[in-house]
Subunit: 99 residues, 2 copies
DNA sequence: TAAAAGAACTTTGAATTTCAAAGTTAAAAC
DNA sequence: GTTTTAACTTTGAAATTCAAAGTTCTTTTA
């Protein structure tokens, strides 16, 4: 039997990573500065949480230029979306039926 | 203006504390061993997460005897319930409207 | 064309958090 | 009076998180 919290993914335990994933669930792609302002973190801190999600293959990174400015955008992978959805479902389940 | 993640409470960032609160949202009171088996943690570890929630005044602890056995139960406080509810609402909000 | 600036990191090191394991306490059972 | 059970507390090491400073690459400005 699987545990009541086995689908609560450790990767999403942190509010910043949770925030990044949430944003990427509803936006096809979001760039670095948008995430930075939404989540109110320093750039270094944000970068390392992004890296953690990339390492887990939950997001992908795309670098381009917009006009003359470098611009990095992020997207949730299919795996990322599925895993995050399971996380949310598990959360919901946990809250509803923990008896 | 409040941040998109300002109601995402740091206290609930951890899966075990999240689990404890979730269980206490739907059960008036739950005892130590029940939590321990639901959350699959060692007793020391569980005790320290419980303590963190008690320190924040999100739960209360009640010690009694059931028959001859000591039994400790936990309840979410009103503050705990409200704060957790806000956390969940913020989460939902974050996922829905982060654009 | 040399210096400054902006974007998006990477590195560093310290602070904080988490964990299991071992030790503790108090009552109960033997 | 020794052992057991419940529920911790303590300890110390490992892991995580963070801001700040440094880096790289490109563009802008002088």
């Amino acid at each position: 039997m699987t545990s009541i919290i086995s689908d609560i993914n450790k990767t999403f335990d942190h509010r910043i990573r949770l925030g990044i994933m949430s944003v990427l669930m509803v936006n096809d792609s979001v760039d670095f500065n948008r995430l930075k302002e939404l989540l109110e973190v320093t750039d270094g801190n944000l970068a390392s949480h992004i890296k953690a999600l990339e390492t887990s293959e939950y997001i992908t990174i795309r670098k381009q230029f917009i006009g003359k400015k470098p611009n990095t955008t992020y997207e949730a992978t299919l795996l990322g979306k599925q895993t995050f959805a399971r996380h949310l479902a598990a959360l919901e389940q946990l809250i509803k039926t923990s008896k």
